[in-house]
Symmetry: C2
Subunit: 227 residues, 2 copies
DNA sequence: GTCTATAGCCGGATAGAC
DNA sequence: GTCTATCCGGCTATAGAC
């Protein structure tokens, strides 16, 4: 699996994510025309991510968002009831999308080693396609209210739990040699996370996602494969 | 070297950092009495870090800071001229402190392997003693103005550069077997960073800094030592 | 559906009493 | 040195015209 192949199989865009959102929330939305909703919502979410990544969601005023998206304050408020709801909307739909695509990629793989490799690649590739979202989740978790923050942390621990289980299976099958699955899973997570937290650095150094995937899978396998 | 030993050798506290700051900025400060400055400034910085870590520096109002520190708005403004200057002050003095202690720890070590081990440990131990500061730097870099952000990024790349140089020395001395020093240094940095970014997770799992240091040095050495 | 205008509030900052 | 009172600008949110 390379990034190109992954991209072909998981074709999705801001528009497709927002279209899903429209269908899931048709009744709650003030605006009724699908095309209008998809166009404006894509614009709103894209612009919000861009500004938030630059200076933080809290520091972004709705006037900023209005100016950069080209929509008036009034128009913005027909897509969400409050700034807080906008945050919720992005978090909720982003994480749903991630979950769906990750699970699709892991289905039907049983061998622990193959599963670990597939998971690392799928997660890296997803975080490449949705870099802004991943970065946003990481940075804005603490800006959320208690309830949203809890869901965000659970989502973070969930991906780690998947890794822990793969490691345990591999250990039981005597494919992996691991002393502490929790520490190992944490280290794997940290290496995957670095890809979207330091995207600018890798770009500067001309490292692409396939090179990074090869590098960290090599490093991880060296440290856990029974020899 | 264990964390206990490091702590003994590098005794420092919020008070000592603020006392250094007092002596360096004596002339610029409105308040003249050393003890008053040290007491209030420690309180201000400590409280700012605590609130910012909880919800972000930008989301912290000076009224929040006033309430939680017990100082009035007027009193706060006799220690800094603006909220922006408060951010600068914390960043500047924090990074100065980190730099001083890191350099002290690396002096006199020449062997690449020993140097790498010493650096990883020193950085982890420092980030344990100054966890709030490290977390703050990472999260608030983007909230800074252009100039401060530049300094912050340089400081980040500086620590990575130290690692790159150690790796190159070790490669030249045929102690390390490394294909790509930049990727390797980045991975080491990511693993070190995880300690202060996910402090809550490690606490929950009863992992202390010495255990973590042992774990990641083991993992790193497995991946780079010539055998 | 989208816009403009504005209500009402909260933030950073300061003046002047003690 | 520290406090309270206050200014004013910018913020979220909404009402009502088009």
């Amino acid at each position: 699996m390379t990034f190109e192949e992954f991209k072909q199989q998981h074709r999705f865009s801001m528009e497709s994510i927002c279209r899903d959102f429209y269908h899931a929330n048709k009744n709650r939305l003030k605006i009724k025309k699908e095309e209008v909703v998809v166009r404006n919502l894509s614009n709103i979410v894209e612009t919000t991510l861009a500004i938030s990544i630059r200076k933080g969601f809290d520091a972004m005023s709705l006037r900023d968002l209005s100016r950069e998206s080209g929509l008036s304050m009034g128009a913005l408020y027909s897509y969400f009831a409050s700034k807080e709801e906008l945050l919720y909307l992005i978090q909720d739909f982003g994480q749903r999308t991630v979950k769906t695509h990750l699970e699709a990629e892991l289905r039907d793989i049983t061998s622990p080693l193959e599963k670990l490799r597939a998971f690392i690649r799928a997660h890296l590739y997803l975080s490449e396609l949705m870099q802004q979202w991943f970065y946003f989740f990481f940075m804005e978790t603490r800006a959320m209210d208690k309830q949203d923050r809890k869901r965000s942390i659970e989502s973070e621990l969930m991906t780690e739990k998947i890794v822990i289980e793969i490691l345990q299976d591999g250990k039981a099958a005597q494919v992996f040699s691991i002393q502490d699955e929790l520490l190992t899973a944490g280290a794997i997570k940290a290496l995957m996370q670095d890809w979207y937290l330091k995207r600018w650095k890798f770009r500067q150094r001309n490292v692409n996602v396939d090179m990074y995937a090869d590098y960290i899978t090599g490093m991880i396998e060296t440290s856990i494969l029974d020899t």
